[in-house]
Point group: C2
């Protein structure tokens, strides 16, 4: 086994046929694995215009080329499927242990096709694969369902992926959870599992992944590990506070979205910061597989140990809902994990709902007694519960902020791109990051091209966040670079410490391939363009490469980025140009030929 097993597990749920297939070497060579492989197989196997919730959609659970290797933070797998939220190719990424265990079971990829007649879960015990009845766990929370599946499987070392009640009900912002509290969160991938009647997948694998030249790898690894440990972000900030370390940092730049992006600076942000979290809620490291960064933490609230909220979760439920109090944020996070909901989209949808209520679109009688107001932590928790159970107005909110706002003909108050809710960075104060929001293939997203690195953190470079010069080329480069990392199955956070050459050396050392840097980056560009071509085929156009009107027209009213709007119209044409696309954002024949897609 050289990095990958080249084995696909294909499960047809309609016919209950389980088979294995060989993965073609040339596809791996061009698309690596993970996100790239998933996107390629999706685009070849699923016809355009399939309804995302119909049996014709497929789910590709793809580990990365390097997932489960000896490389630090190589824990990631991708859920690739058609997004029911916005018809893009979803590729929701998660860490923990599940993806690694799948690799250890001998599979690079699981394909789920069709639709089970009734609820099922799947067990994978190395090469023993079974489809089992899940009638008794349908309706259960992620934690409870995980307990039952694990007990029935009978091996406590197995890893479990599951959807919660939100996915079962096809909430369009439902996530896929693994290892109880880790989320392949975005694009509504949980609803696709629900539509196929798949509650979960238990996996146990015992074969380690071996690289082709262990000695060569060891040399590269030593250098990489040292870089990670000696970097301020990966060696100190993230290990100590988790991603919540960003709260104060982003707030101090005046780009922390507050009250549905009506403001961008919170006076008392420190009360919801990583530092406060550590001080008051007993943060304890809980790392993913083989990860020296260990950004992931548990915390303790009212004597109970639960997952610590990530920066995005604090941004969405905290600042953006005006709730400057960690306790309800931690509870909302816990509920999202149990219901199987994406915290970013849920928080953003509640924020939109509050603004719609303030503006009179939503009437008091629709609320069934639960207030919609900024800063009300108890109500926030109750709305999360209502979204998770599709109760009352929660049923509409479970469709995400765009559709919810559409119900009131008030789409402009949904802070979305391509119907997916924006993460917790106000792009008016981070121009390159805004361009990346507008062009992200899966819609509103921060992890497809984290321009925060060069524009705020000074990583890979130190750019003026308000300036436009060179930003289009930067966004392209970081998007392609990220597509490589996602396809390798490494955690994006490794990129805070490593440069592109490090990844190149890792790939070549593990697989024995001899990619040049240019060739490897081309893999990422290929992935990006396959995703783009899908979007164009689904009817997306230049007009959808945009930002909410508020971010383009209303200057930030307070804080250190006061007065700025996003200048997308000055950036987009240049971006198309550096991508080799025409002025409408369509890849030119030359571009497609160059990429060999």
């Amino acid at each position: 086994m050289v990095g990958y097993s080249a084995k696909i597990l294909r499960i047809n749920l309609t016919e209950r046929i389980i088979k294995t297939e060989q993965l073609k070497a040339d596809v791996v060579g061009k698309f690596l694995g993970g996100r790239g492989l998933g996107a390629r197989m999706f685009s070849q196997e699923v016809p355009p215009h399939v309804e995302a919730l119909s049996p014709q959609n497929k789910i590709f659970l793809a580990t990365g080329l390097l997932t489960g290797s000896e490389i630090p933070a190589s824990s990631r797998y991708m859920v690739v499927t058609k997004s029911p939220l916005n018809n893009t190719i979803a590729s929701s990424n998660s860490g923990g242990y599940w993806g690694v265990e799948l690799k250890f079971a001998g599979y690079d990829l699981v394909v789920l096709e069709g639709k089970a007649v009734s609820p099922v879960y799947i067990t994978i015990n190395n090469n023993q694969v079974k489809i089992r009845d899940a009638g008794h766990i349908w309706g259960k929370t992620v934690g409870d369902a995980t307990d039952v599946m694990l007990a029935e499987f009978g091996d406590s070392q197995a890893k479990v992926l599951a959807i919660g009640p939100a996915g079962e009900k096809c909430s369009l912002i439902a996530s896929v959870m693994n290892d109880r509290f880790r989320a392949a969160g975005r694009s509504g991938v949980g609803a696709v599992f629900g539509s196929k009647n798949v509650k979960g997948i238990v996996v146990r694998g015992t074969e380690k992944v071996k690289g082709s030249s262990p000695d060569a790898l060891q040399g590269v690894l030593d250098g990489v590990l040292s870089k990670i440990q000696n970097n301020g972000v990966t060696g100190e900030g993230l290990p100590t506070y988790g991603t919540a370390v960003l709260v104060n940092l982003i707030n101090e730049t005046g780009t922390l979205p507050v009250k549905n992006f009506q403001e961008s600076y919170a006076e008392k942000a420190d009360l919801i910061s990583g530092e406060t979290l550590a001080e008051l809620y007993d943060l304890k490291k809980d790392p993913c597989y083989d990860c020296p960064i260990a950004c992931s933490h548990k915390c303790r609230v009212d004597g109970q140990e639960v997952a610590g909220p990530e920066y995005e979760t604090i941004g969405a439920f905290g600042a953006n809902c005006g709730v400057i109090d960690l306790k309800p944020i931690i509870t909302a996070n816990y509920l999202c994990n149990e219901f199987g909901l994406d915290t970013i989209s849920v928080g953003a949808t509640i924020a939109t709902a509050i603004e719609l209520y303030q503006r009179g679109y939503i009437k008091a009688e629709e609320l069934d007694g639960t207030p919609l107001e900024f800063g009300n932590g108890a109500a926030l928790v109750e709305w999360v519960r209502k979204i998770g159970t599709s109760e009352g107005l929660g049923a509409k909110m479970a469709m995400g902020s765009y559709r919810f706002a559409q119900c009131y003909s008030a789409e402009s108050y949904s802070m979305h791109v391509k119907k997916q809710e924006l993460p917790a960075y106000d792009p008016r104060g981070i121009q390159g990051h805004g361009l990346q929001y507008a062009t992200s293939n899966r819609g509103g997203c921060h992890v497809r091209g984290y321009m925060i690195s060069p524009e705020i953190l000074g990583i890979h470079g130190r750019l003026d966040r308000f300036k436009l010069e060179g930003k289009a080329a930067w966004v392209k480069m970081i998007q392609d670079f990220t597509a490589v990392i996602d396809s390798l199955g490494l955690c994006l956070f490794t990129s805070f410490a490593l440069n592109f050459d490090d990844y190149l050396n890792l790939v070549n050392a593990v697989t024995g391939a001899d990619y040049t840097g240019e060739e490897l980056l081309l893999c990422g560009e290929r992935v990006w363009n396959v995703e783009r071509l899908h979007n164009l085929q689904e009817g997306y156009s230049k007009a959808d490469d945009t930002l909410p009107r508020r971010l383009l027209e209303d200057p930030i009213p307070n804080g250190p980025s006061k007065g700025w709007v996003h200048q997308l119209d000055r950036l987009l044409p240049e971006y198309y140009q550096v991508r080799g696309w025409d002025s409408e954002g369509v890849p030119t024949p030359e571009c497609i030929f160059r990429l060999g897609i």
Copy 2:
């Protein structure tokens, strides 16, 4: 019981809760029943932008205000739900006995909510309602599933509604079947049943529907019956040949679509006419409940008795696929009934596929050996089978002609309006009918405003089919009139013999109401506008009130309508005006106020 029972049966499939509710008198007064009641309840209960295949969609099985009464041809019920084909409000209409039996069981309406955990069917024995396991019949054809459900129910007088394998697989052109071979055919309503895991509904009811003043009704009935019997269409043409009587008639006007609307006249149409059907295939009347017209027929082929093909079916599989041979048409019709597929959409999709193959969009290797060519009857039958089983290219075709053509970026070869396939009348030679296609709320459809009556058959008037003058007002009037008939649960074919006053007298005699003609027609206009507002809310606009490019730009090349194109741009503004809509096709506040919606 005065016409209707005012009782709703509501079944929550997720929670397995069955309850009855009272129907509000004021809603009935404004929306009558059937299509109107369904549309009203749908628009009030189902939020906009719900995914049609998600549990949040609902199904309203609505009998008409007069369904099951002593009035002839009062057999209709409507399947109202969000269409997965095009997101409009589906209201697919069927006759036979099922809807009447539902009324006899004491219900005006059944609402299906949520999604069953595993396949179920529902039994309604008067007020005894049960949700039963359907695991053993999932995958069975409509006929086989009906046999099993009927046997298990134990009362051979019960009536059965069922979906076939196509609906289970969420084909977007899947129908809901009742009484084995009658179809609520259009808008993909079968897929919504499939998405909710509902295989069928058995119903037995023993309480007759009584009118409020039997004596008054008897007088009206005598006159109505005599009109139906003495009318050339309802007393002779339809009873003798069924709707297939139209084949020669429409062909002789040069408006019979041939080869995907590339031509509009078939030299040998008589070989697939009602007359030939009667001569060679032993037509035998098989009427719906209490129907003196008895347009529905069985026929006999190779010793087997099967449903006779309707005009639309002959048009779609015959002329439009270039198959001038009744035998494969009868077989294709039989297969559609068993798989639960809409014959119009299936035929149109095959015709589109053939043209795409001819033009080189589809490659030979995609065909798996089954030819795509006009005139090949054996291949036609095989394509129907492949669509029914979602096999090979059939899986893409099961999404309907628009999405299928989109897969090849060749939408202009899909002969659709709002993604729904056009029936068998070429609007280039029937200008009013073309306007009605373009403006039909559920997309390509002939029975929402059958302008063939005045423009070809000389019923209600005798219009010059090529002229534009007055057509917009005619279309509006016939659309509203039809919405009344659909809401009453009467067969549209009664309108070949009856005029609006007859319907008015029937309504008032049965219900004891005292509608004026103006008030009753306003009910129809109300229904039309509720449907229109839904479409606007879903994102449809003026740009979608259109016809395929071919029909607007390419003159008919042959036959008696040679040289004509459709002049939609000259008709549409006038239509908006007579509807009281603004120039963008949006109902004005005055219009909405006038209608009280």
